[in-house]
């Protein structure tokens, strides 16, 4: 029985028929999705913090509203993704609990600090750029609610990358101090941005199954290569160098070659030893705990109101 269900399920996937919430699905498919979607949602929420740092320090009002709207969008994206995840039969409170207790992961990039204003631009350009590269194929993911959430996310995300790049472009046309700020920021973010695509394919145990289930459409290394190819030209327009002596065009491959990623650093940050891991989680936990009385008050008020209503109807 199970085997034939599973076969039928795989046939649907192979024929590009989307899986919807109440359809039968293998337990492992459900679990993989919950892990991936919630990790994605957590990344959006934790991702608000490094940029949120600079909302009160933005250098002019135009930048201030753009940054505020951008960070708000991340909250929105987190919400769309938690909603998609909830269709798999798990509640948001439980997901948030997993984040706060360290059971669930989020993208390691957000464990790096934002030290200068230029970081607001570099995050938009490189971090959002890498995220878009990862996310666009997810719009065709086999699970309907996830794919639909991603369509909405990608539509909104395009302004993020543009605002970041525009910010950097302004710095690139500015004073020597501004150009230095720009280069220093790119130097810090380049390698962590490349790490966002995850381990090399050879070290990525889930990839094959996720590709078969069409949760994933391209491998980590494929996407990383595309990203590098795209960034080289964009860096030239900004007049910045990318901090990799091995970066050069390979005529034969038709791609840029690039240096080896420092995987020790990657795993170290994943294990919780990045510059901001503890800070980020503590901040989220604090926001959640400080909000408890507010959420309780609204629930209590709603209960009182509905009781009043039912009394007046009776």
């Amino acid at each position: 029985m199970e085997a034939s269900m599973e076969q039928k399920f795989q046939e649907k996937i192979d024929n590009d028929i989307r899986i919807e919430p109440k359809d039968w699905m293998p337990e492992k498919y459900r679990k993989t999705l919950i892990r991936q979607i919630s990790q994605h949602a957590h990344s959006e929420i934790v991702g608000m913090l490094p940029e949120g740092n600079w909302i009160t320090r933005a250098p002019n009002l135009r930048r201030k509203v753009a940054l505020l709207a951008k960070v708000q969008d991340e909250a929105g994206h987190g919400l769309y993704l938690y909603s998609a995840c909830e269709t798999l039969g798990i509640e948001r409170t439980e997901l948030i609990d997993q984040l706060h207790t360290g059971k669930a992961k989020y993208s390691s990039i957000f464990n790096y600090p934002t030290l200068t204003w230029a970081d607001m631009g570099t995050i938009g350009w490189l971090v959002d750029g890498a995220a878009i590269m990862n996310q666009v194929p997810l719009c065709r993911c086999s699970y309907g609610p996830y794919a639909r959430a991603m369509v909405r996310v990608c539509k909104e995300e395009s302004f993020h990358q543009r605002q970041g790049y525009e910010l950097l472009l302004t710095l690139s046309k500015g004073t020597p101090e501004q150009k230095e700020m720009l280069q220093e920021s790119v130097n810090r973010w380049w390698w962590p941005a490349l790490m966002m695509f995850g381990p090399n394919d050879a070290d990525s145990p889930h990839t094959a199954q996720s590709m078969a289930w069409k949760i994933k459409r391209f491998t980590n290394d494929e996407l990383r290569q595309r990203f590098v190819d795209m960034c080289v030209e964009q860096a030239e327009i900004l007049g910045v160098s990318l901090p990799d002596p091995d970066l050069k065009w390979n005529e034969e491959r038709g791609h840029y070659d690039f240096g080896e990623i420092n995987w020790d650093e990657f795993w170290n940050v994943v294990r919780g030893n990045g510059p901001c891991n503890k800070d980020r989680i503590n901040t989220r936990v604090k926001a959640h705990e400080n909000g408890q009385w507010v959420r309780d008050a609204a629930s209590a008020y709603a209960k009182k109101q509905s009781e009043k209503k039912s009394v007046s109807v009776a």
Binding site: G52, T56, P59, V65, A75, T175, V294, A297, Y301, K304
Partner: protein, 249 residues
């Protein structure tokens, strides 16, 4: 340029900017994801309105002034917002009470402005009042939820009402610029007090909350005398412009 009208516009702009700045501090730290988004929408409205007023002020002043010169290049004694909006967020309750007191005042003031002969101000007011109607609805609903929610929420929000009420009087106390606006355009902030009190009391009553008895109020903001908190706000707000003067961002 009519200096008093210009100053009146800065009073409006500074209120909007400083309150928007404060509310924007919630972004990423809200009590629930949905409320994080809602608070940021409100912050964006406030900063957006501040921009419209600053742009108008810059246009009046000429000399190549821009909207950013006012928020980023003035000293604390040249800010004219009321002290109420400088208050720290403290908790969600304080944030709501601060907005609740201010939104009611601002709504009635904008209502007068929409009918005023000062066309530029009337035009801004007409679009701004739509946003403010929503702010009013938001802060009023949360007053009911928190006031009539749990014992803890009631205690917290009542404390905030108690602490912030003494900062409300200043809104209705005319500055020289306000006096001028009354004579020249019939905009009368003092006349709002009664309307304000009636509306506020009605909602507080529904929320099972009370106003303190006191009739003594802080003042000074409209004339550039602020609480200690404004200096810290400007320290952050103006950091880049002060550290790297005269650059484009």
């Amino acid at each position: 340029m009519d200096k008093q009208v210009h100053k009146f516009i800065l009073q409006l702009a500074d209120n909007e900017l400083i309150l928007g700045h404060r509310i924007s501090e919630w972004c990423g730290h809200g009590p629930a994801l949905e409320q994080d988004i809602a608070l940021t929408n409100i912050a964006l409205d406030h900063v957006g309105q501040a921009r419209l007023f600053y742009q108008l002020a810059a246009e009046m002043e000429g000399n190549g002034k821009t909207e950013d010169d006012y928020p980023y290049k003035r000293l604390e004694t040249s800010f004219y917002n009321v002290q109420l909006v400088e208050h720290e967020n403290i908790d969600f309750g304080y944030t709501i009470v601060r907005s609740f007191f201010y939104d009611h005042f601002y709504y009635f003031l904008l209502d007068q402005l929409t009918k005023s002969k000062h066309t530029a101000l009337a035009n801004i007011a007409k679009s701004a009042i739509k946003e403010v109607k929503y702010h009013l609805r938001y802060s009023s609903e949360w007053m009911r939820r928190l006031g009539d929610g749990t014992e803890e929420s009631h205690r917290r929000v009542q404390q905030a009402v108690h602490d912030l009420y003494p900062y409300t009087g200043e809104m209705f106390l005319p500055s020289t610029a306000d006096e001028h606006m009354k004579e020249a355009y019939g905009i009368d902030c003092a006349s709002i007090k009664e309307q304000w009190l009636t509306a506020v009391k009605e909602i507080l009553h529904e929320a099972t909350l009370e106003l303190p008895d006191g009739s003594w109020f802080h003042k000074g903001g409209k004339e550039g005398v602020h609480t200690e908190k404004l200096g810290y706000i400007l320290t952050e707000l103006q950091y880049i412009q002060r550290a790297y003067p005269n650059m484009q961002w």
